[in-house]
């Protein structure tokens, strides 16, 4: 399951991380250590701070307190672009397409800036990312013309184009048909077997459980459960959070 090289060694370490917006404490003392090669799922009610946690990890937002370590390096003060070049790929829950660029050019931005490639190598990387996200067919479409599902898929393609070691996914399975969902699960599973470390926030628990080997539940800015997925889903903490069966 996990890659043998570096298994057990933490690729990502989130240590006592807090994040506030003014008086609003979104995250309080979050600890999370993710070994290289692990596929980790995150569940939790809306507003729990899941997306904010991804933002603090990838540098889109700066932590108010605590440290984030990536590959053994303290990146707490490192800007998001440098973290991306160091191997963090991230999708946004609310898609942020480059509307006036084509789908291919969106991926190319990731391949050139994130993966640091140029010329043919960058083209090939972007094409491979589009193929993985099943987007080659719309490669020449302006991203602004994509429907919501296409935009979500583009988030994945773009993040893959950066050639990430750590892939942060934020609710990419919502709204898919069963067949589309299965194909997405297969894609993410194959990324996992390639050794990419994955943190996946998802409300579609069925999809999540088909991939992840560890599950974390976040509620009001703290981790309330962490462990083997089926155990976490059965835990009292998670049941309490979801008031017995919203999931």
């Amino acid at each position: 399951m996990t890659r043998t090289a570096g298994a057990g060694e933490a690729l990502l370490e989130v240590d006592s991380v807090a994040k506030s917006y003014g008086a609003l404490d979104v995250l309080t003392a979050v600890h999370l250590s993710v070994p290289a090669g692990q596929a980790l799922g995150i569940v939790g009610p809306n507003g729990a701070g899941k997306s904010t946690l991804l933002s603090v990890i990838n540098g889109t937002e700066r932590a108010t307190a605590g440290t984030v370590r990536f590959g053994g390096r303290d990146v707490t003060a490192t800007p998001a672009d440098a973290r991306a070049r160091a191997g963090m790929g991230r999708t946004f829950q609310v898609p942020r397409p480059f509307a006036h660029l084509t789908v291919f050019e969106n991926a190319l931005a990731g391949a050139t800036a994130g993966a640091g490639l140029r010329g043919r190598a960058a083209d090939d990387r972007a094409l491979a990312a589009l193929a993985m996200a099943d987007m080659l067919g719309v490669a020449n479409t302006p991203a602004g013309a994509l429907p919501l599902l296409g935009r979500k898929r583009l988030e994945l393609a773009r993040a893959l184009a950066t050639d990430p070691r750590l892939l942060l996914l934020d609710e990419i399975a919502g709204g898919l048909t069963e067949a589309e969902c299965d194909s997405l699960v297969a894609t993410i599973r194959s990324l996992h077997t390639q050794g990419i470390t994955i943190i996946w926030i998802e409300h579609v628990v069925r999809a999540l459980l088909a991939v992840v080997e560890r599950l974390v539940c976040l509620a009001t800015g703290v981790i309330v459960a962490d462990g083997e997925p089926s155990e976490v889903m059965r835990s009292d903490a998670v049941r309490a959070v979801y008031l017995g069966g919203a999931l």
Binding site: T60, D81, A84, R90, F98, E105, A131, L136
Partner: protein, 364 residues
């Protein structure tokens, strides 16, 4: 209809179009360079204005249309470019070399100013650039050697007015050509995609590894150098600066916005068309005085209402044409079904297909 299948696609950078553009471009440049030998100098010297208008429009479009930095302060660099001619001319350089050297110096100034300007976003950035332009004017008029508030002439200039016009014409032509070629290559480079990604969504661009400040700073400096070159040309053509308030006038920004919006923002062709429209209007209607400005305003409003993508944008979406090859197109390398497949080692595209129309492919 060929669909795009993994392993059977390649990226077309429009190389063939690039070659065509280079050949036609070289012909046009050569023709324009020889024009003073064919036409009366009084005619070609009028084109100088068209050249610097295209330069200014292209620079503003690079800044606002491709990098998303809406500046209303480019007149700072126009003015400094014009005054820079005096500075280096007084130091003993000929006026034409002064124009080039001054523009490079102004690039360095813009680099320093970018650290101030980039602290501001959106509307504040726009206002900030205007404030910088006003400050530049205020500083320039402190110097008596630069004519204080009165403007001044070029002291050491080519004596023969015909030669003077000729040299200025060639310089202006060289500048507009360099501006267009430079912009074309910049947009075709990795930086071109990075810039446009920043323009469309800065947060996402950063998350993908784009060094946003670096990309913006390069363009900010380049646009300043282009504006400075245009300013220097204005100074050379007018044999000096009539008044600081004219060369540092915010109306330059208004005209740049006009040209770019009319022609089509975010395209290379648009500003050229916009500059031509403005040049022709200015040539034939500027003696109408106040009414001229009313006509310009009405035209601008009409075009933004009815052709929101500008003249070029409307033409492009209607006829699917491009003059300058800046995009990327993913095309199938395989032959249509039934034809002999191309050997795997030698992809020979005999058909290019726009994948927009192609059906979605399944994962390979």
């Amino acid at each position: 209809m060929t669909s795009l299948v993994p392993g059977e696609v390649r990226v077309d950078r429009l190389r063939r179009r690039m070659i065509t553009v280079q050949i036609i471009g070289a012909g046009v440049i050569l023709a324009l360079a020889m024009a003073p030998y064919v036409f009366e100098p009084s005619i070609t010297s009028q084109w100088i204005k068209l050249f610097y208008l295209i330069t200014l429009a292209t620079a503003w479009n690079l800044l606002a249309g491709f990098a998303g930095m809406v500046s209303v302060g480019q007149q700072a660099y126009i003015g400094l470019g014009a005054y820079g001619v005096f500075v280096f001319n007084d130091l003993g350089l000929d006026p034409y070399s002064s124009a080039l050297v001054a523009s490079l110096a102004i690039g360095a100034i813009a680099f320093a100013l970018s650290f101030v300007a980039f602290r501001l976003r959106g509307g504040y950035f726009a206002i900030g650039t205007w404030v910088i332009a006003e400050a530049a004017r205020q500083i320039v008029i402190r110097f008596d050697s630069l004519g204080a508030g009165r403007g001044r002439g070029i002291s050491d200039y080519t004596a023969d007015p015909v030669m003077r016009n000729l040299f200025t014409y060639w310089l202006a032509l060289g500048i507009v050509v360099a501006t267009l070629i430079g912009t074309l290559f910049l947009l075709r480079s990795r930086l071109g995609v990075a810039l446009q990604s920043v323009r469309d969504n800065e947060v996402a661009a950063r998350a993908l590894g784009v060094d946003v400040s670096r990309a913006k700073r390069i363009v900010f400096v380049l646009a300043a150098v282009m504006a400075a070159l245009a300013g220097a040309v204005i100074c050379l053509q007018q044999i000096g600066v009539q008044s600081p308030s004219q060369i540092f006038s915010v109306s330059f920004s208004a005209f740049m916005v006009f040209m770019v919006l009319i022609g089509g923002i975010g395209t290379l062709e648009g500003p050229i068309i916009g500059a031509i429209v403005y040049y022709v209007m200015d040539l034939y209607f500027s003696q109408m005085g106040l009414w001229y400005l009313v006509v310009l305003g009405v035209l601008a409003i009409a075009i933004t209402l009815f052709l929101p993508q500008g003249i070029w944008g409307a033409l492009r979406s209607r006829f699917d044409i491009t003059l300058f090859p800046v995009g990327h197109r993913v095309v199938a390398t395989s032959r249509p079904a039934g034809a002999a497949p191309a050997g795997p080692g030698e992809p020979r595209p005999n058909r290019t297909t726009d994948a927009t129309a192609a059906s979605a492919t399944t994962e390979g």
